[in-house]
């Protein structure tokens, strides 16, 4: 048994963290919010140059052909920096949906552009409140109709993979008359969400059927890596503040009320990281184990980031409520990460249903 990242994967994570520390400091995030920016385009270009966007895209389509764990260390770094880039939308969901379900022509047309960052994809699955993965939109004779909302990064995406009636995917270019994009007020100020209305928009069916489960299981693992990176960033921010802040004649971090809280977050984060590792390994090497592994990773990722985002702000006290402090970036993103890709209840059912025996039959 060797249950650790490889040296190459650790180095990849280091490179990603260094790049993000350089290009995406908190003041940069504040500037993006103040200017109402859609995203951090220069950062995206830099990620493309480093090869990160194409990490898991096959080599014959312009990527590096690496695996889920390689992607995971990048996602962990992006989560840690709270970066304003469409990596989940374009790479984890869009590119992977095309790889799993697209025709050879669709792969050839789009994967190289997604790997190079010249095109951006998103995955449009929700249709308002209700089922996370909704299928009201229809694809009929190459014409897409219906509405998808909210759709992350819908303002900057060139193409969308749209979940449609029957559970299949449609591939649609968003710069066309049949598509209307409306920016919604997004709770996460660094990841704008859109309403996409399709009125007989030209779209292609994607031939691969029944790929939704695999797609979202893989994405759940990556979301767990992102959550772990973000939770750890919050934990370290809280730790550093508590070490520095003097109160009643000693460091705030010397009080058990703080120590024990941070210890619990550290435990939750390590459990989530362990589940994410296993999920990444299962995605690469043991597909039968992926559904349970992905659901566990997803649930423990949500849990650790929820604790960390809330208690980080709490440890900071009043300063945490200011825009100048950095807690709020994570506090907002955490809610987004808790509900995208299906919420806790959705993944709880998937985890229980993946268990062997009688208990899997319920609900």
């Amino acid at each position: 048994m060797n249950f650790d990242l490889s040296d190459e994967q650790k180095m990849l994570g280091e490179q990603a963290r260094a790049l993000l520390a350089d290009l995406s400091p908190f003041d940069r995030l504040r500037g993006l919010i103040d200017s109402g920016a859609e995203w951090d385009e220069p950062l995206w270009r830099a990620l493309a140059e480093m090869g990160f966007l194409g990490a898991a895209i096959p080599e014959d389509h312009g990527g590096l052909g690496l695996g889920a764990l390689d992607l995971g260390v990048i996602m962990e770094a992006l989560g840690g920096a709270n970066a304003a880039v469409p990596f989940m939308s374009s790479i984890i969901l869009g590119a992977e949906a095309i790889r799993l379900a697209g025709s050879e022509a669709q792969k050839a047309a789009w994967l190289p552009k997604l790997a190079s960052g010249d095109a951006i994809a998103t995955f449009a699955y929700a249709e308002g409140p209700g089922s996370a993965f909704a299928t009201g939109a229809t694809l009929d004779g190459g014409q897409l109709s219906g509405s998808k909302l909210p759709v992350a990064d819908g303002g900057i995406a060139d193409i969308a993979v749209v979940l449609v009636a029957g559970g299949g995917f449609a591939l649609v270019e968003l710069n066309q008359p049949g598509v209307t994009r409306t920016r919604l007020d997004s709770f996460d100020q660094l990841r704008p969400h859109y309403r996409l209305d399709f009125a007989d928009a030209a779209a292609e069916a994607m031939p691969g059927a029944g790929k939704l489960d695999r797609l979202i299981d893989q994405a759940a693992v990556q979301a767990a890596f992102e959550a772990v990176g973000a939770a750890e960033a919050c934990l370290h921010m809280a730790r550093d503040y508590a070490m520095d802040r003097q109160i009643f004649g000693r460091p705030l971090g010397g009080f058990q009320a703080i120590k024990h809280k941070l210890a619990d977050i550290a435990v939750a984060t390590e459990l989530a990281r362990s589940n994410a590792y296993y999920g990444g390994w299962a995605a690469e090497s043991s597909p039968d184990d992926l559904p349970a592994a992905a659901a566990a990773a997803r649930l423990s990722g949500i849990k650790c980031f929820e604790m960390a985002a809330r208690e980080n702000l709490q440890v900071h006290g009043g300063i945490g409520y200011t825009f100048e402090a950095n807690c709020h970036f994570y506090y907002r993103r955490e809610r987004l990460l808790a509900v995208h890709l299906g919420n806790r209840g959705f993944w709880a059912d998937r985890l229980l249903n993946a268990q062997p025996g009688a208990q899997g039959k319920a609900a």
């Binding site: 048994m1 060797n2 249950f3 650790d4 990242l5 490889s6 764990l69 934990l235 730790r239 508590a242 070490m243 000693r250 460091p251 971090g253 010397g254 058990q256 703080i258 120590k259 024990h260 941070l262 210890a263 619990d264 550290a266 435990v267 390590e270 459990l271 989530a272 990281r273 362990s274 589940n275 590792y277 296993y278 990444g280 390994w281 090497s285 043991s286 349970a292 592994a293 659901a295 566990a296 990773a297 649930l299 423990s300 849990k303 806790r344 209840g345 993944w347 709880a348 059912d349 985890l351 229980l352 268990q355 025996g357 009688a358 208990q359 039959k361 319920a362 609900a363």
Partner: protein, 407 residues
């Protein structure tokens, strides 16, 4: 990353499996049998003898001391394979192998090693741990049992005091004992470590009536117990270092527990919700069990990460406490939840309900898991200080002679 055995590990596992298949079945405990604890201990000794004869006793112990000299990961593999059989293993043998042997090997004289190690590996000597006291648990170094030299010039020590939570003390042959020999120095510095023959006059063990109804723990009274100086381990005043050797072993060992939420899911699925479904259809129940299941899987894979560290010769340190902290709380939470599923019948099950008793027992026993081997609060401090680097606790008793402390 690879979850599977390496070639060497697979070969070791195959060897262990073959040996166990040939020797373990004869030692299996009959399913569901309740037996007197004397018989349980005798069976434990017999299994130790079998292990020793086969060369599987003291797996990670050096060969020159009678062990196998195996790696940490090999010990884990053997434990996994051994765990597939219902064997008579428990504190009556593991305190000897997991606590007494490491401290004797590290701090003992050549004579002490020769006298105790092989005999313990064979199951001829079993051990109990005489550490905790009524007023010294998490703050073990505050213990009060005292020893002073006999005034007859023999060099012997005379021990007086009371120990508590000494598992199996009534049936074991020897005890590892820490006592205060110098109250004029700060608390950690005045301790000395001994091994003591439990048949020595003046030792009285009384079973503690526990909240579970069982009595595997004892309180042990020591009244003018005479211990020869030859049974002192380490120098006078070095007792705390010996304790640390023992407690490190305990902490690494206590990560190995399993809780199994799966039986509780079966229990929920076998419980009617009164509307034609089962309690496993209930939203609140599903959310809580799924949360616990995700934790359980996380603990398992976190342990796999720790084992990888151990296999590289790294010491997980306070990280090992994370598993125990997570496990113990979850064990209590999930069994507490399960006890709500049948409503009042969880409290007073009907005569044909054979499943609820286990849930009740586990809910009671989970309290032990949160206290023994490092209480939740102690583990949180260790994680905060050693993993996160937060400040240590204020110690009012630091540098104060023990005899000057309040209490």
């Amino acid at each position: 990353m690879d979850f599977n055995d390496s070639a060497e590990e697979a070969a070791f596992r195959a060897e262990a499996r073959a040996w166990l298949a040939a020797h373990a079945p004869a030692h299996e405990l009959p399913v569901g049998a309740k037996m007197p604890d004397t018989e349980e201990a005798d069976r434990g000794r017999a299994w130790m003898r079998e292990l020793y004869a086969g060369g599987w006793s003291g797996l990670t112990f050096p060969k020159e001391l009678g062990g196998r000299g195996a790696s940490g990961i090999e010990a884990v593999i053997f434990a996994e394979e051994e765990g597939k059989y219902p064997l008579p293993k428990g504190p009556f043998t593991s305190i000897g192998t997991g606590m007494a042997l490491p401290v004797i090997a590290k701090h003992g004289t050549a004579e002490q090693k020769a006298r105790f190690i092989e005999a313990t590996l064979k199951g001829d000597i079993t051990w109990c741990q005489l550490f905790s006291e009524p007023a010294a648990g998490s703050d073990l170094a505050g213990l009060r049992t005292k020893a002073s030299r006999a005034d007859d010039g023999s060099g012997d020590w005379i021990v007086n005091g009371q120990k508590v939570w000494s598992s199996w003390a009534h049936l074991t042959d020897w005890g590892i004992l820490v006592v205060r020999t110098d109250p004029t120095v700060p608390k950690h510095k005045g301790l000395t470590f001994f091994v003591v023959d439990m048949k020595t006059p003046g030792i009285e063990t009384r079973p503690i009536r526990q909240i579970s109804g069982a009595s595997e723990f004892n309180e042990t009274f020591l009244t003018d117990v005479r211990i020869p100086d030859a049974n002192r381990l380490g120098a006078e005043g070095e007792g705390w270092a010996c304790c640390m050797t023992v407690l490190m072993g305990e902490r690494l060992g206590s990560g190995a527990h399993r809780s199994g939420i799966e039986p509780l899911l079966d229990y929920a699925a076998a419980t009617s919700d009164g509307h034609g479904g089962t309690m496993l259809d209930d939203r609140a129940v599903r959310l809580q069990f799924a949360d616990a299941l995700a934790d359980e899987q996380g603990e398992r894979f976190f342990q796999a990460r720790l084992r990888t560290m151990v296999s590289r010769g790294e010491n997980p340190g306070a990280l090992a406490g994370m598993v125990k902290l997570a496990y113990a709380g979850r064990y209590q939470r999930t069994n507490g939840l399960a006890l709500e599923l049948r409503g009042l019948s969880g409290i007073a099950p009907d005569m044909d309900d054979t499943a609820t008793g286990d849930v009740q027992y586990d809910y009671i026993y989970s309290t032990v898991m949160r206290i023994a081997g490092g209480a939740d609060e102690v583990l949180r401090n260790q994680i905060a200080e050693r993993v996160l680097g937060l400040p240590g606790e204020m110690r009012m008793d630091k540098d104060v002679p023990f005899e000057a402390l309040k209490g």
